[in-house]
Symmetry: C2
Subunit: 290 residues, 2 copies
């Protein structure tokens, strides 16, 4: 049984889709209310939302590693991570305050409507399969990224993030807002049907997953500053194949750097603003059936 | 005679096109070097560039009103405005350090390749006509905005800003980088031909200008926070007409607000991230021949 579900928005304070969806539901909870379980909606990073910045001191969505939660908090996001862990977790416990965390994100990359999944739980992947059946445009990225097991949704036993794009930081787009909203309602319907053992739609045996392989950084000068950009032929081509010899970057001087990998892979999160400082221009993934 | 031209980038520290074009030319000034005049390239707001934020304390591109420059500086951008005024101006003087300021900007709105012009000078408008002849996609916005005569380019007797979009804050797009670069080289060629009294291409008698009429704010709640977004049918439709009854905003609750103006006007700077805090969702302009 699913008893409590949390929907978090504003984990990154400048990703406004989640910030304003949560605001909408806090004004009127009826659309996220179902009979068989309780839905919590909350702003994960209120100070970053006020400042319209990704974070104040450190990326909150990399602040939930078990070791971090055990250490005394030394800055704003560390304190907030401990609060959220107490409110929604605690992480790794037999009994947690919520059964599922849905974390709402947006990206400047052309990721369309996608899920970023790190959890391996059965319930998580049943929910993924249900959403893929309801929304054929939806894509699934199995993430093993720059820091392991440190996402907000890792403090509950089940969960994932919705990523929608492209939308600039600090901007609300009505089309992506409504697409995200619809996907959230499908997920809540899934929990309701699941609790009631009601007829779930025929789920495909398999789901197509983009499985994380590697991170690629921008070309940089001796000081670590960018001296190149994503090549114009690669820009916006998230979830497409790149093959050896395809243009990857254009340097500021006009010259071109090509992809040198032997294996053709899919490019994701191309030119996401928040990843400049993390040191990746895009991620590479392998397409698999799971 | 044009003796000195300044190209400023990073007036807003998170508009990376100008930041990295200036960086490129500081590494290799040959592309901006012409025989008959000197070209300066500089980062207008170095601290904001370091922080990858629009500004530290106040929008630098609203800090050049004559009254502001006369007051003792009380914060970072006020200090920097006085420095730039000493370096490139002084504003309103008979003799200024530079004859023309080209200020490089980008926007999250779908403004394409456009000029934002406040100067009324003959040289400025000759340059506009030249660029329009060279680049048919270029559009011209005559701005009288939220604060008058306070742009960086106002400290020289001639100048304007290039605005390119859509590009998120904190992101470099190769296609828009190269389009901006080409436009800059055309402008420098214009000054060179003009100084040499060389044959200028046939300029049209008239130039199409989008002439500023009004600013429109987002729908907001009693606390001043947004409770609506640009309507999905208006999003990305910069430089298109809006007529009475056309959808303008979608509120968070799903309802629609329509445009009520009697006069059909053109919508510009639709959903620019930096204008949320300034209180405008878009600007309205009248299309005229000048």
């Amino acid at each position: 049984m699913i008893r409590r579900v949390a929907i978090t928005g504003g984990t990154h304070g400048n990703e406004l889709t989640g910030v304003y969806l949560v605001k909408k539901w806090q004004n009127d909870p009826i659309p996220v209310t179902r009979e068989s379980f309780e839905t919590l909606t909350l702003h994960a990073n209120p100070e970053a939302i006020k400042a319209c910045r990704r974070y104040i001191d450190r990326d909150l969505n990399r602040s939930f590693a078990t070791a971090d939660l055990a250490n005394p908090a030394t800055h704003y996001e560390a304190t907030r991570a401990c609060e959220l862990n107490a409110l929604l977790g605690p992480k790794g416990a037999e009994e947690t305050a919520v059964d599922f965390i849905l974390d709402l994100h947006s990206t400047t990359a052309n990721m369309g409507l996608s899920l970023v999944v790190s959890s391996e739980s059965t319930l998580t992947w049943e929910a993924v399969r249900y959403l893929c059946a309801r929304e054929p445009k939806l894509r699934v990225y199995r993430w093993q990224g720059d820091e392991e097991d440190a996402f907000v949704d890792s403090i509950a036993p089940n969960g994932f993030a919705i990523e929608v794009g492209p939308v600039p930081q600090g901007v609300l787009r009505s089309d992506l807002f409504m697409q995200t909203e619809t996907l959230v309602y499908h997920l809540l319907d899934f929990f309701e049907k699941s609790n009631r053992k009601a007829a779930l739609p025929e789920l495909h045996e398999k789901v197509t997953v983009y499985d994380h392989v590697a991170l690629i950084d921008y070309p940089r000068d001796a000081n670590g500053d960018l001296n190149g950009m994503v090549h114009e032929n690669r820009q916006d081509r998230d979830f497409t194949l790149i093959q050896k010899g395809d243009p990857l970057f254009r340097k500021l001087d006009g010259s071109v750097i090509c992809y040198e990998g032997e294996e053709p892979l899919y490019t994701l999160f191309i030119n996401e603003a928040a990843y400049y400082e993390k040191g990746f221009a895009m991620t590479l993934a392998r397409k698999i059936e799971l």
